[in-house]
Amino acid sequence: MVRSHVLVCGGTGCTSSNSLKIIEALEKEINKQGLTDEVKVVQTGCFGLCALGPVMIVYPEGCFYSMVKVEDIPEIVSEHLLKGRIVTRLLYDETVGKDEIKSLNETDFYKKQVRVALRNCGVIDPESIEEYIAYDGYMALAKCLTEYTPEQVIKIVSDSGLRGRGGGGFPTGRKWALTAPNKAPQKYVVCNADEGDPGAFMDRSVLEGDPHAIIEAMAIAGYAIGATKGFVYVRAEYPIAVKRLQIAIDKAREYGLLGKNILGSGFDFDMEIRLGAGAFVCGEETALMTSIEGNRGEPRPRPPYPAVKGLFGMPTVENNVETLANIPQIILRGPEWFSSMGTEKSKGTKVFALGGKIKHTGLVEIPMGTTLREVVEEIGGGIPGGKKFKAAQTGGPSGGCIPAELFDTKIDYDNLTEIGCMMGSGGLIVMDEDTCMVDIAKFFLEFTVDESCGKCTPCRVGTKRLLEKLEKITSGNGTMQDIDELEELCNFIKENSLCGLGQTAPNPVLSTLRFFRDEYISHVKDKKCPAGVCKSLMSYVIIADKCKGCTACVRVCPVGAISGSVKQPHVIDDSKCIKCGACMEKCKFGAIVKQ
């Protein structure tokens, strides 16, 4: 009889901080202490609190241990699992109350979250179809096949108000409805798991933590639109996701939940995985389909839309991972339940990957309409080091910045679009006062320039020219005319590019120009980077009065730019200095400053 379950995160974040070794050590120790029949170790998907990894949770107590090391394992096993004494020092501090241990759901990080897409992540063993089924898995598919007509399924999805979570926000039900009536010898359901925004890992976590939900949702989509074949296009850089998804597909097929005549309903559906080679543009739906077809991943003009002429020229529905992860719940709990969450035009929840200058780096799922302030200050735990919030970036390289004055913006599709941002797939990067907004725009542009497929002129040449103008500005050579030309070129690229990549590539520039134009002007007119980030526009200087001549800076300087005699004030040669900042860090007397 198992009396204790230890759930260890096996998501990519915790795996990279060694959670697999911890599982190994746990099993060994449990065996050693003779608890094999009483304690079960489960490797789950992501819990979300990646900053505290590796994490584990022990049931029935619900103790949440964070930053666990292999050396801690014997203590956890002998103290907690054997003797029932909780190892308080390893508990996540927010769960430690005065006299009791608080549930994880009461912590700031989890309190305001509502987990729909992520509901099984960190809860079940993603490699076990039985655990998925035990959590109502495949019940939604069964319900569709036995109780609903395809039209009814589409109506439920439409009524729920679910919109595409991959970036565009197109209503999912309408997408299905547009595809369903098109007659063709073969139709397809494609799952877009080519998550490419830097720092985003929502889809990865769903695939790693709850792969059956995607399979179930794709089968439901197939039933709704009359498709019998599905593809999941997933990045080859997601090996854990690929492995677990393949295990799940094989199991589902073994259980008759994929293949011919599913659950005796007469409905056939099967699917396979296609690996992407890491091109960002393949996240664009037509480029993704071109890639599945075996060609160079490049977008094609629309119309024709995939609903009419998609994969292999056939009607195709393409949905993002997170979108699909919502489907089984919508079917089971009804469209009203789903649409009761969120704002008027953005229903349900949204998963965000929190990153940047924030305490709780990780994955959160919040109801639409939650304010940015709540996400950053409450869920995210605020900015470390007492620094001031400057802006948040959503939508990755396609999105824009939300400045501090809009901190109380309710996050939903339309609000973000209105302020020149976009929901994107859900990356949310927090920036503090030390961030240069021109530099941030440059960073994202470097990414799009590198990832442009090169098919259309505006994106291929235009984004490169944008980047060059930004480089000119950050190196102190920009003019006011450059700022105007930058804006003109941004608008040109936005309106003239072939696909979403190019059409949104100027957003980081346009949005920073809108909210932080003064920073651009400082770079151009005053030749100053207000945040002290752009290396060409600042120098390190030694304040002679404070310098004791200890020579510590001389020894740490990698390029020999500092000179001076012992016990005499030193000097930095700006022409040699590479602005690495090592001297400033080393100086004990605060004698070195940035100017």
Partner: protein
């Protein structure tokens, strides 16, 4: 047919459902500029030059691929549209090598024209990183100059359409460039040298290798006897180089121009075509009677032959051993003609004017030197001849008509139609029918094998024998034929294959027409029509009836398919490695 009503710049038009804005605009008499668009083969919406404003669409849309909808109002020239096109052109120019003064495409460059129309100056506004590429001069037939490439990908589409697939986009972003697999030199990949890419290139990025300097040099050398021959299709296309209507037959002016350029003799490749027919018909009859390899396939088209050598080396016995007309004429000049006029073949320079870039490859093939020296020395394209005439200051349009020189002339209708798909087959059938029946048959038109379709089949009863024939043009169709032969499902006896879609009138060496013409005019049909009209008007329409042919057999070859004819007029083929 369901019709859609829309307005282009306020002009109401009604077009079939599915028509694009570009097509509707054409209907309204409004031209919208394009760069990447090629009807049916390159509808990729990549260059973004054709952007317009349309009601119901978000932002600007590309006219080339965007379908009109009921009630749509399109504006093609608003300040917004013009400004977008202008910025686009400036961006393209910022990566373009602007050596326009001496560029071979100066004045017929589609980019140059647009820049002029939109008042785009090289302002330097978007100067920045510009990738530098080395010229690919490896192939005998063309120059690849990526520094002038604007990445419209028309060449890639043409190559794909040809089923050759040796060029495509490599790398990405600003480093995107058109290249071969593994960045090999063009000569080291299975390029068939058809030159279709050069015909569709809007700029000077892809161009035939220019051999005109060698010709000028030879003409200027008093010790050389320089003779020129012109392929059947040149008379139907050369006029386009001088602004004459497509499909104008300029045979007389062409001969006059060649004389004025200083060639010692002006011969007609039609003589070679007639020679090919009598030899090929003889070979075919021999194969039928003596159980030779069938089906037999024509071998006039060097691009096609090269394709077969790359992809079907095991089936090369199906190819007729006849040299192409170009090579036959060269061989006859350097043997029969040289002996007759007592000229050392080493002192003869044979120049040929061809519709074809693959001919530049063919002149360098092995087993093409009947007199111990290459049969043909220099193969020029129609375009190169056009440029020579231009440089020489010859007023082509107003030239008088002149006749080809003897003895290699007296061409027939059969030879003239060689320039079009189906022409070789028809010419061969005319002769085979006479040879097998021993009669002078009056019915000489084999209409089933005419027309621009890529694949045509027919069955003829010739002297009691049922002959199944097929005619293919374009490598895609050639490949189909070969795959049928390979899998044993081909029941044809005789097959004509031409490398270029529609035959030589649409060859890779033919005059350039901008996409704005190519997309709306059936060039191939118009040019072919000129040839069929000439055939119809001719007294002699069968190759074996040509007095020149009769004479050369009487005086030199003795009989069709003789040992001597085989020595001089036939050749051999080799399997080729695809990637070197």
């Amino acid at each position: 047919m369901e019709m859609i009503n829309c307005k282009i710049n306020g002009i109401a038009v009604s077009v079939p459902k599915g028509a694009t804005i570009l097509e509707a605009a054409r209907e309204a008499g409004v031209d919208i500029p394009t760069l990447c668009y090629l009807k049916e083969i390159n509808e990729i919406g990549a260059c973004r030059i054709c952007v317009v404003e349309a009601t119901g669409a978000r932002g600007l849309v590309t006219a080339c691929v965007y379908p009109v909808t009921e009630g749509m109002e399109v504006k093609t020239n608003t300040p917004k549209v013009q400004n977008a096109r202008k910025i686009n052109l400036e961006l393209i120019l910022s990566t373009h090598e602007k050596k326009c003064l001496s560029c071979v495409r100066s004045q017929d460059c589609e980019l140059q024209t647009l820049c002029r129309d939109y008042g785009v100056e090289d302002s330097g506004k978007y100067d920045g990183f510009k990738p530098q590429y080395e010229l690919d001069l490896s192939a005998p037939h063309l120059v690849r100059d990526n520094n002038k490439c604007i990445l419209c990908r028309r060449c890639v589409a043409a190559c794909e359409k040809q089923y050759v697939h040796v060029i495509g986009a490599n790398d990405r972003g600003i480093d995107t460039h058109i290249g071969t697999p593994f960045e090999k030199q063009l000569d080291d990949v299975p390029c068939v040298s058809c030159g279709q890419c050069t015909v569709v290139c809007p700029t000077g990025a892809l161009r035939e290798k220019d051999n005109t300097d060698e010709v000028w040099e030879a003409i200027a050398d008093p010790s050389k006897h320089v003779v020129v021959q012109t392929a059947p299709s040149i008379r139907a296309t050369l006029g386009e180089c001088f602004g004459m209507p497509i499909g104008t037959n300029v045979e007389g002016k062409m001969v006059a121009a060649l004389r004025r350029l200083g060639f010692d003799k002006v011969f007609d490749t039609d003589f070679g075509a007639d020679l090919t027919i009598v030899e090929e018909a003889t070979e075919f009859i021999d194969r039928v009677k003596n159980g030779g390899v069938l089906p037999m396939i024509t071998s006039c088209s060097p691009g096609w032959v090269k394709f077969a050598e790359y992809y079907y080396p095991e089936l090369l016995e199906h190819l007729s051993s006849c040299k192409s007309p170009q090579q036959m004429v060269g061989a006859v000049i350097k043997t029969y003609y040289a002996q007759k006029n007592n000229i050392d073949p080493n002192d003869i320079v044979v120049v040929s004017i061809m519709p074809c870039t693959a001919k530049k490859f063919e002149v360098g093939r092995d087993d093409q030197s009947a007199a111990g020296v290459p049969d043909v020395d220099i193969a020029l394209t129609t375009r190169e001849l056009g440029r020579m005439i231009m440089r020489a200051g010859i007023d082509f349009v107003n030239l008088p008509d002149e006749q080809f020189d003897n003895p290699l002339s007296d061409d027939t209708g059969a030879a003239v139609i060689f320039g079009s798909t189906g022409g070789v087959m028809e010419a061969a059938l005319r002769t085979a029918n006479d040879l097998l029946t021993g009669k002078d048959n009056k019915d000489v038109e084999y209409k089933e094998v005419r027309g621009t379709a890529g694949l045509k089949e027919a069955v003829y009863n010739i002297a009691g024998i049922e002959v199944k024939v097929a005619v293919a043009s374009g490598i895609e169709n050639a490949n189909y034929i070969m795959s049928r032969i390979k899998d044993g499902t081909a029941d044809w006896h005789f097959i004509e294959i031409m490398c270029c879609p529609g035959g030589c009138v649409n060859g890779g060496g033919q005059p350039l027409q901008p996409a704005s013409v190519r997309n709306f005019v059936d060039l191939t049909s118009l040019r072919a029509k000129a040839l069929y009209e000439q055939d119809k008007a001719m007294k002699i329409r069968k190759s074996h009836k040509s007095p020149a042919i009769k004479k050369v057999y009487e005086e030199f070859f003795e009989k069709y398919g003789s040992h001597k004819a085989h020595e001089i007029l036939h050749t051999s083929y080799v399997g080729r490695k695809k990637y070197r």
